[in-house]
Symmetry: C2
Subunit: 212 residues, 2 copies
């Protein structure tokens, strides 16, 4: 039985899991969850008590939280497609560090910019310029550290692409369509890294699927 | 050579790593980092470019981000002390889900309460009551879901204590000394879980060490 990914075509967290499934070349069924529909929401709570997409059904295993799902996929399908977590314990430890940096440092500020500059306009809401300014300043400081890291290392987690890079994809993709892209452009290595991960065939497949 | 934990006695993230080291029964040297001292800060940046404690030196491996360090310790010292991550892939996947819940749902709001109600008074700053009220409401909703989870499962990640519980310790410990404890007290299973993890001998050792 194919895995079922319960998600929404506009949800960055859903895209994060899709990117992982495509990198692994694992087949899956996409279940479109309409969280605005009470009936959908009620039944979805059995998959994720927090009521947010995505959730994954892999046989009798029910998982939520996009970054937990990608880790499960990376371990379970270690031999399929792109290896996303190194086998070597020391290399893996470094990948974990940069996965945490994405979650604690990057996402904490970049997701707010994505919300203000992409989600709000899409929903006909007004962007709060003060919030944008505050978070652009914070993101700039994070990207300064990324620039130093990427000057020494091809990817954030080491010399090969890993979950530490993959987890950034949905928000980097959003921000590359906004004025915040200037923060990336201003930093040579960050800019090249961003363009490079967005150009990956697996991510392009996600973008293509989300058009339909 | 013993591992070196670079931290600060008042840092919750430092306590998170100490709890893990104590559960594993691994010897380590504590290096007190004074981040207010320019000299310390400068040299500390080579361990963590974000300039925040803790950081761990394990031989030639240099790690930062408390939750990445605990994962490294749990994997590297899998056979020492308390097993903090299950070997079984399905059980492990569920532990990862609740580790992400701690990071994305619990900490996002509980750490703000800890800052307002513990850190600020300690530094002679004024608590912002509006922020406290906002985050108490948010935390209450998270704890409602914890209550359902803990009614069915002894610990968050399953029937045994794991990193999913351990990562909560420093902030739960702080909040149990504030009025926010009422949110825990109002929920039977959450209250028992909180008291249970705080009573663990490993955590008691951390509390004891931090008194000196």
């Amino acid at each position: 039985m194919a895995m079922k990914l319960h998600g929404h075509p506009l949800s960055p967290a859903t895209h994060r899991v899709m990117a992982c499934l495509e990198e692994k070349g694992v087949e899956y069924e996409f279940v479109h969850i309409h969280l605005s529909t009470a009936h959908h929401k009620e039944s979805f709570l059995s998959l994720n008590p927090f009521g947010q997409v995505p959730a994954l059904e892999d046989g009798d295993l029910k998982l939520f939280e996009s970054r937990a799902i990608t880790q499960h996929l990376a371990h379970t399908y270690a031999d399929n497609g792109t290896p996303l977590v190194p086998q070597d314990p020391k290399e893996r430890a470094i990948v974990y560090v940069w996965m945490e940096v994405e979650s604690q440092r990057f996402d904490a500020t970049a997701a707010k910019l994505s919300y203000e500059l992409v989600t709000k306009p899409m929903l006909g809401m007004t962007t709060n310029d003060a919030v944008v300014e505050e978070h652009q300043e914070k993101l700039g400081k994070v990207l300064d550290i990324y620039e130093s890291r990427l000057a020494k290392s091809k990817y954030l987690g080491g010399e090969v692409f890993s979950l530490a890079d993959l987890h950034h994809l949905p928000i980097v993709s959003h921000l590359f369509g906004t004025k915040t892209k200037a923060l990336f452009d201003a930093r040579t290595h960050v800019s090249g890294w961003g363009a490079g991960i967005l150009a990956r065939p697996a991510w392009q497949k996600v973008v293509e699927k989300m058009k339909h």
